[in-house]
Subunit: 258 residues, 2 copies
C-alpha cells in the first residue's frame, strides 16, 4: 500500500478563514495534513517576505480533524519557508494554498498572497496548487467546488505537475449544476483601472483608499477570464522564470556596448 | 526640438536612499523628473499593495535639483499607482526604479520591491526599468554605474522597450575599469536555502529571523548570474504574463473532465 502524501496547507486570508477550513477538510481525505497559515489576513501581499522583522509561530487547533496546525506571524511566503525549514519533518509531497475568498485569475496572480505561497513552494521544488473562488465574501459558499478541488489535487499527485510550474486554479461563483467543467488556460491580459478615494482625516490631512475596476483587455477564448465568464473552472500553469525569452533577440539589436 | 520625457522615479529602499538620489541626478540630465517613493524602506515587499489600510503622500524636497518629490506611506507598487493616478498630470514616458542597494538578479526578481514597482508600471503600459547594484551597503558606491544607467535609459527611450516587458538591470560590484560591458540575459534558475535563526525573546517565547544562502542551480552562460559573476552588467527582459505556455499541452492530457 502506498504511503499517504504529506500535504502542506496554507493561504493568505488567515488561519481561521472558511476557505482554508474547507481546503483542510478536503486534504484530510487525501493525505497527512500540516497547516501553516498567517495569524491575520495577508491579502494582496504579493511575494513579500519578512526580512526586517521577527517571525513567531504557534501550534494551534482551530477545528476538528487529524491535521496539525500552526499559525505564523508572517506573510504567506514566510509561512511556506517556515513550514519547510522549521516545522515539517520532511519536504511535503504537495503544497496547496487557499481556497482564497476572491479571484486570483489573470493579472491578480501578481498581487496574490495565495499564489505567492504556491509559487514559493514551487521555487522550493514542491508540487503546488493555489485555489481561489471568485467570491470575496467571508460567507462564500465553497460546497460547489469541493469535488473539483479533490479531482485536481489527485490528478496533480498522480500525473506530476510540470517542473518549475505551479497551478493557479480559479472557480466561478456558480451553483454546482451550472459549472461546465475544467479548462487549462493562459493568463488573460488584464489590468486594474485605479481610482483613489481621497478623504480628509479628523486632523485635516488628506489620505487615500486604493480602489479600482478590473478591466480585461484580452478577447482570447483560451484565457482564464473567458473560462470563468463562461462557467468553467480555469487552471493556469504559472512559472517563476519571468524572462521574456522572445524579446532577447530584439534587445540585442540595441547594441548597448557600442 | 523634441519635448523632454516625463520620468517617474521610485524605489524600495525609501526616498532618502543614496541609490535613489543617484538615479534622480542621472534622470535630471535626460528628462523632467517626478519622484514618488516610499517614506520608509520596503525591501522584499514583492508585489504587495495596500488595500486594507490608508495611504498618505507628502510633497518633500530631499536635495537640490529640478525634480519634484513626493513620499508615500505605501509599498513600491502603491507608489506607482498613486503617482500615475493622483500625482502626475499625464502618463509618464518612462518609469525607473532603484538604484537598489542589493541584487535583484535571478529569483530575487520575485521578492523585489524595486522590480515590483517597475512591473507595476509595465502593467500600466509605461516603459519601465529596474536598476540594482549588487552591494547591500547603504554606503555602496554608485559612481561606476552612472554612465551605464544613462546609456541603458537613453537606449530604452530611443528603441522602445518590447511590449508587456520591463527591464531588470543588475550591476556587478566592481570598479568602473573592471566592468566588461552589458549582456542581455535570461533569469538564472536559482533558489535560497533558508536558515531560520531561532532565538528566545525576553519573555521566554521563541521567535525566528529569516536568513539564507543564495544558491545558483543554473550552469548556463546566458544567465544574469553568469554575467554578473564574469564582470558584466545583466539586462533581463521580465514579463508579467506568468503562463507556462509550454506546459498547457501536457496538462490537457490529464483529462480533468473525464
Amino acid at each position: 500500500m502506498q504511503k499517504k502524501p504529506l500535504i502542506l496547507v496554507t493561504n493568505d486570508d488567515g488561519i481561521t478563514a472558511p476557505g482554508l477550513r474547507t481546503l483542510i477538510h478536503i486534504m484530510n481525505e487525501i493525505g497527512n495534513v500540516v497547516v501553516v497559515a498567517p495569524d491575520s489576513p495577508q491579502s494582496a501581499m504579493g511575494h513579500a517576505i519578512t526580512i526586517n522583522s521577527t517571525l513567531y509561530s504557534n501550534a494551534v487547533k482551530i477545528d476538528d480533524g487529524p491535521q496539525k496546525e500552526y499559525s505564523c506571524s508572517g506573510t504567506p511566503a514566510d509561512c511556506v519557508k517556515l513550514a519547510v525549514n522549521e516545522i515539517l519533518e520532511r519536504k511535503p509531497d504537495l503544497c496547496v494554498s487557499g481556497i482564497n475568498h476572491g479571484s486570483n485569475s489573470s493579472i491578480n496572480v501578481i498581487y496574490s498572497g495565495t499564489m505567492s505561497a504556491a509559487v514559493e513552494a514551487g521555487i522550493e521544488n514542491i508540487p503546488s496548487i493555489g485555489f481561489s473562488l471568485c467570491d470575496y465574501a467571508i460567507e462564500a459558499n465553497f460546497e460547489p467546488v469541493k469535488e473539483y478541488v479533490k479531482t485536481i489535487t489527485i490528478a496533480a499527485l498522480k500525473n506530476g505537475i510540470p517542473k518549475d510550474t505551479v497551478l493557479n486554479v480559479n472557480f466561478p461563483r456558480l451553483p454546482k449544476e451550472e459549472i461546465r467543467g475544467i479548462k487549462i488556460c493562459r493568463q488573460a491580459r488584464a489590468t486594474w483601472m485605479e481610482e483613489f478615494d481621497k478623504r480628509t482625516n479628523p486632523l485635516g490631512k488628506e489620505y487615500y483608499w486604493l480602489t479600482g475596476k478590473f478591466v480585461n483587455l484580452d478577447k482570447g477564448e483560451d484565457t482564464d477570464e473567458w473560462a470563468l465568464a463562461h462557467g468553467y473552472i480555469s487552471v493556469v500553469p504559472v512559472q517563476f522564470d519571468l524572462t521574456a525569452h522572445h524579446t532577447i533577440q530584439d534587445l540585442n539589436t540595441w547594441n548597448l556596448n557600442d
